[in-house]
Subunit: 154 residues, 2 copies
């Protein structure tokens, strides 16, 4: 896996948050260590496949971050992670992977996207079952933290 395949997800996330929710996300240093795992309250998750590469993308939000993002995105004040907030996470995940898919396609990598899912539950942890590298990228927003994890194998 190389930076060329990870960057489209990071660029796409910053675009989606900025245009859909007027939230500017500041990227912190990416890490590659397998032991580093995102902990958060709600995660958007999607699988990606091509004929010879498999991958996955997880976007994990703290409660405070997603509540502000969803409120600004939907023009409605949310106080808990309810069904509308969960739907917003699914939509963000879809848009981020769709945007990344388009950039990757222009670079010659053609992927199919699986059905996105949203995991909710206080302080859950996602563990990717792969021998490939996992890139964990923390982001800060004015409302709190979020984390992107991208892995590819094959």
């Amino acid at each position: 896996m190389n930076v060329e395949m990870v960057n489209p997800f990071l660029v796409s996330l910053m675009n989606v948050l900025s245009t859909m929710a007027q939230v500017e996300a500041i990227m912190n240093k990416p890490t590659l260590k397998q032991g580093d795992r995102a902990t958060g309250d709600v995660t958007g998750f999607i699988g990606l496949t091509s004929t010879n590469i498999k991958g996955s993308l997880a976007i994990t939000f703290t409660e405070s971050a997603i509540i502000q993002i969803a409120s600004q995105m939907l023009g409605e004040v949310f106080e808990i992670i309810d069904e509308s907030v969960i739907d917003a996470v699914g939509e963000i995940t879809n848009m981020v992977s769709g945007g990344a898919k388009k950039i990757l396609s222009e670079k010659g990598y053609k992927f199919n996207m699986a059905i996105p899912s949203v995991i909710s539950g206080k302080d859950h942890i996602i563990t990717h079952n792969t021998k490939g590298a996992i890139v964990l990228v923390p982001f800060e927003t004015q409302a709190g933290s979020l984390f992107v994890e991208v892995c590819f194998e094959g």
Copy 2:
């Protein structure tokens, strides 16, 4: 989506639990309602794609069920959901989707599998972001409950 595409996952799960962990899982009535969602302590998750169909599989275990399954699978007594148990969930998810993929392929449905992931965290919930039907199938084992969710779209 039809039963022909869901049954391979159920058959494959029962095979994997029986052969790898000597655990017999009894299938309860599947439901199709979108509001019914599995709640559990650890979930194995994998995305599936083909050129025109996308899908996902989630296997959600209660803590008591996965601790007994992992203990019998690995021949070691576990008391909490630790890294070895999480790895076992990833392996089970891989084997179940690999088995289902093989059966589906014989029926003419060719899928690519994404990287499996494992979500851990007390009482988390998985929500599939799809307009397609979601099949939720509860299973009982001597150690507790587990749930399979399969969805396809396209």
